[in-house]
């Protein structure tokens, strides 16, 4: 009785959604040229292609420019606390396997204040798609260094340049037990961005996609080289992997056949110095998922609750009459 009712309702009429069905009534408020817009478009396209019912889809985020994304989706959204998108999403998914859960997080949100949750979310490997909008800077709070900021970057908190090498979210993720899907995309190749997010969504387990996202406001021209010179991008291809459009294939000739089960190569690719790997670095659908492992075997009906409570009470009950029940149960 306390189980989700619609889980047992059949959808009688199969509806087909349009892109507009996923657009909320709020116009995105990102700067012109912000990579977040491309990501939003890719997600809306995915929702349509996969025909995800808006009411069954939840976008969870933290705080940051990127974390505004749920506001622009016509779906359920949870724009919560800075750094805590992942545990919120886990809580949502835990007892609601019927919901499609997407997490949108920034490089500060995920890799700085949320780093512990990030590590542990990878390990829980719950069924959700995690999009790291990595613009290498704190956008919303107006230009502070993030853990992924390139060395030397001048920001408001590093007026003399960031002094450390950036954290590599891919390498860290690949070091975590139970990692099951790691990919990298860039906001400026929309076809691949879509394709990678789609693969992530279809993956069983937690799919972690780092998206290199342009922030013209504070990191203007940062990716100009990469955007202009296709050889700087290395596309990872494999059997049932990315579907490269002929055009993308023609432009991006720097391709590598990569078996996504090859962890050693995935790690090496993650830290390619001067090229940007794009595609699925690692994928292992056989890794067990916490939500599957911990799914209750039986629904918690009132009768079951009554039975279990009685069992427990029996163990510690003093009955009015001595010997009224067998001693073990007394």
């Amino acid at each position: 009785m306390t189980a989700t009712m619609t889980q047992c309702l059949l959808r009688l009429v199969e509806e087909d959604y349009t892109l507009a069905d996923y657009q909320s009534d709020i116009a995105p408020r990102w700067c012109a040229g912000c990579g977040d817009s491309a990501i939003l478009t890719a997600i809306q396209r995915l929702c349509r292609e996969e025909n995800l019912p808006p009411e069954k889809t939840v976008f969870v985020s933290g705080i940051g420019c990127s974390s505004r994304l749920p506001h622009y989706m016509n779906a359920y959204g949870f724009h919560g606390m800075h750094g805590r998108a992942l545990p919120v999403a886990e809580g949502i998914k835990m007892r609601r396997p019927d919901l499609h859960v997407f997490v949108t997080t920034g490089d500060g949100d995920c890799c700085s204040i949320g780093a512990a949750h990030w590590i542990h979310a990878i390990r829980y490997n719950m069924n959700m798609t995690v999009l790291l909008h990595d613009n290498q800077v704190y956008g919303l709070t107006k230009n502070q260094a993030s853990p992924t900021s390139p060395r030397g970057l001048q920001t408001n908190t590093t007026p003399r340049g960031a002094c450390l090498e950036p954290l590599n979210p891919l390498s860290v993720t690949l070091g975590v037990a139970n990692v099951s899907f790691v990919a990298q995309a860039v906001d400026w190749i929309p076809g691949l961005l879509y394709d990678i997010i789609a693969q992530a969504h279809r993956h069983r387990g937690l799919a972690f996609v780092r998206i290199l996202q342009r922030c013209p406001e504070f990191m203007d021209h940062f990716y100009d080289d990469a955007v202009r010179d296709p050889t700087k991008t290395r596309i990872l291809v494999h059997g049932d992997g990315l579907r490269l459009s002929p055009e993308v294939s023609r432009i991006y000739r720097n391709q590598e056949a990569h078996d996504p089960l090859d962890m050693a190569r995935a790690r090496a690719l993650a830290s390619l110095g001067d090229e940007i790997p794009v595609g699925v670095l690692y994928r292992d659908p056989s890794v067990p998922c916490y939500d599957d492992l911990r799914a209750g075997e039986r629904p918690n009906t009132p009768d079951l609750i009554r039975t279990v409570l009685d069992e427990e009470f029996d163990k510690v009950t003093i009955w009015p009459q001595i010997g009224a029940t067998p001693l073990g149960a007394e």
């Binding site: 998914k93 919901l99 918690n300």
Partner: protein, 641 residues
């Protein structure tokens, strides 16, 4: 209050060799007592805990009122024979229902003189009290040990205690090869004999406790039990009876954390997200064991912040969740609690309080988190704060908390404490009621035009939309938002949101009844308390009234908001004093005056709300307040001019 009575029926008479330490006059008829407090302490691992718990259980089964309290060492494996290492149990048993651990102990069984000192030094044993001490140390090969033992014995006798040196190990070795094993059952037997507890029931209890063990082991333990009883009958001039009357209703005996865990199951919640922390954790342990049986989940998160966020996520998705923690965890969850308040997500937060601040005294009793629960987060974050006042209350409060949380889309903080967490007491076996549970998650389509924050101006309430509800799609946010849930920075919209979140608390407050006064309706002094001190305060009031003092007490379950009429009650008394297990500056300190005194938690709240000059008294000794200490404090207050 002592009366003569005939010997208990089931008393065993089988004898096995008298004790080495001089046998005394055979006991006369048992002295009838109204109540006694018994402690049993040993090094950790020697089984005093099990002995004490079994003793309490047998007495409870016979129909005595009992209250047992664990004596826990702070370390995992403290060194043997040390004051800090004492482990055991205190059992208060009475002819009537008891609601707290009481005052000093009347009788103590100690396995060595050091653990005994841990009870003697802080004044936990009644002057002139009875001490049953393992005597083997007198002849220990280690001379310092023998000397220590002898010195302590001399001191004890000199101080007027009734010391019995008992060759427990020597007696046990007659039955078991390793004398350290089974000593606790021998002690249990002695205690059952001394207190005239039914031998059959004692044996049944031992069988129950060792149910999963080899039958041989069970029999050996029963032999030791019987031997203890026999030895006591033979050698000790101690024989008491505490009249028992079995309740006509079934009773359950458990500690507060078990009651909390069962309350979670009974409330219909499906998710408990937690991070281990003493003394809250044992509730999660028990829940981990049973929650899966009803198809539900205890999630051990990576930290308290994640636990709180996880619970918020589950609640948001329609499965109202609880997160259980203790002091430091409460501090860490403040941001999450604020989000739940802001976004109006139902959430139950249980704080099993311990000694603070900081890591403080993890295993010890204190009631120091009330103000943090009320005011801990930044900004205006109205939420319900309630406290459990007994073990039974632990069970029902969780059910109530879930209901309030979901009815008002509100955070409800439930405060328990380290004492209730581990103390055991019988209470009426709850009868399951389907109304306790939440209705099924609403997945029906949202009516056209409905908005996720359509606050009702009369109550501040809005119907929330749960993922899965067609037409209810919106983005929840911790930012200021309008009725559509859209981020909004307009002055009016911000004020409207804050107004309605605050209004819900006011609306909920209207449902609260003024708590009843314990004692008389007016008088010279009113003691006001909250939480686990209820039993001790009311016992103190009974004592004071029996002495002819016009003292009463008021116990608050809801601390935020507070029921109406409390100020009126306060004003009917000449003096009002909050009694709490937390800090308040004592006025006898030269540095302290009315201008700079820091009041206890509840005193702050009452003073501000009612503008009554509420005085306060409390202790932060890591122990539950004793009725006697409260009596003394009240008498002091009555004497003030």
């Amino acid at each position: 209050m002592n009366r003569q009575a005939s010997e208990s029926d089931g008393q065993t008479r089988r004898r096995r060799g008298a004790g080495k330490a001089g046998a005394r006059a055979a006991p006369g008829p048992a002295l009838v007592l109204d109540e006694h407090i018994v402690e049993i302490v040993s090094d950790s691992g020697e089984g005093a805990q099990r002995c004490g718990q079994s003793f309490g259980a047998i007495a409870a089964r016979m129909g005595n009122g009992i209250w047992t309290v664990e004596i826990i060492p702070a370390e995992i494996r403290p060194p043997p024979r040390t004051i800090a290492g004492a482990s055991g149990n205190r059992v208060r048993l009475a002819s009537h229902r008891v609601n707290n651990g009481g005052g000093e102990a009347d009788l103590v069984v100690a396995f060595n003189e050091q653990v005994l000192l841990s009870r003697l030094r802080p004044g936990e044993i009644k002057p002139g009290g009875i001490i049953l001490l393992e005597s083997m140390w007198r002849d220990d090969r280690d001379e310092t040990i023998a000397a220590d033992y002898a010195r302590v014995c001399d001191e004890i006798r000199a101080a007027g205690y009734r010391l019995y040196e008992i060759p427990m190990e020597a007696e046990c070795i007659k039955f078991v090869p390793d004398p350290r094993l089974g000593k606790n059952m021998f002690a249990l037997g002695m205690l059952c004999g001394i207190y005239s507890l039914d031998a059959g029931m004692a044996r049944a209890q031992v069988r129950f406790v060792f149910a999963r063990k080899d039958p041989k082991i069970i029999e050996l333990n029963i032999e030791l039990l019987d031997a203890g009883r026999a030895w006591a009958a033979e050698n000790l001039d101690l024989r008491f009876t505490i009249p028992a009357s079995r309740s006509s209703e079934p009773q359950v005996v458990m500690n507060g954390n078990a009651a909390l865990a069962l309350g979670v199951v009974a409330s219909g919640m499906e998710v408990c997200a937690m991070y281990p922390i003493t003394p809250a954790t044992s509730a999660s342990h028990y829940l981990s064991d049973i929650f899966e049986k009803v198809g539900c989940v205890v999630h051990q998160a990576e930290d308290e912040i994640a636990a709180c966020a996880f619970a918020i996520g589950a609640s948001y998705a329609g499965k109202c969740a609880v997160t259980i923690t203790s002091g430091p965890g409460l501090s860490l969850k403040q941001e999450g609690i604020g989000l739940a308040v802001m976004a109006e997500i139902p959430l139950v937060v249980v704080d099993v309080q311990r000694g603070g601040p900081s890591t403080g005294q993890p295993t010890k009793e204190e009631q120091g988190d009330l103000l943090a629960a009320c005011f801990g987060g930044h900004g205006d974050a109205p939420k319900v704060v309630m406290a459990v006042s007994s073990i039974e209350d632990c069970f029902y409060s969780i059910i109530t908390a879930r209901k309030i949380a979901e009815s008002f889309n509100m955070v409800v903080v439930v405060l328990s404490d380290a004492n209730l967490a581990t103390a055991q007491q019988p209470f009426a076996r709850p009868r399951f009621n389907e109304d306790w549970l939440a209705p099924p998650v609403n997945q029906s389509a949202v009516p056209e035009g409905a908005r996720p924050y359509d606050w009702d101006p009369r109550t501040g309430l809005a119907t929330r939309f749960i993922p899965g509800q067609p037409g209810g799609m919106h983005c929840l946010t911790g930012l200021a938002h309008d009725r559509l849930g859209h981020v909004a920075y307009d002055p009016e919209i911000n004020e409207e949101g804050i107004r309605n979140r605050s209004r819900k608390l006011a609306a909920f407050q209207k449902t609260l009844k003024t708590p009843p006064v314990f004692g008389g309706d007016d008088g010279d002094l009113l003691l006001v308390g909250w939480g686990g001190t209820c039993g001790a305060i009311e016992e103190a009031v009974e004592t004071l009234r029996a002495q002819g003092h016009r003292v009463s007490s008021l116990h608050l379950k809801f601390l935020q908001p507070m029921a109406s009429g409390i100020g009126d009650v306060l004003r009917r008394f000449d003096r009002v004093m909050a009694i709490e297990n937390n800090w308040s500056d004592p006025l006898d300190d030269d540095l302290i005056g009315e201008e700079n005194r820091r009041y206890s938690n509840l005193a702050w709240l009452l003073r501000a709300r009612c503008l009554v000059d509420v005085d306060c008294w409390g202790e932060v000794r890591g122990q539950p307040l004793k009725p006697g200490a409260i009596v003394t404090a009240a008498l002091g207050k009555l004497e003030q001019t």
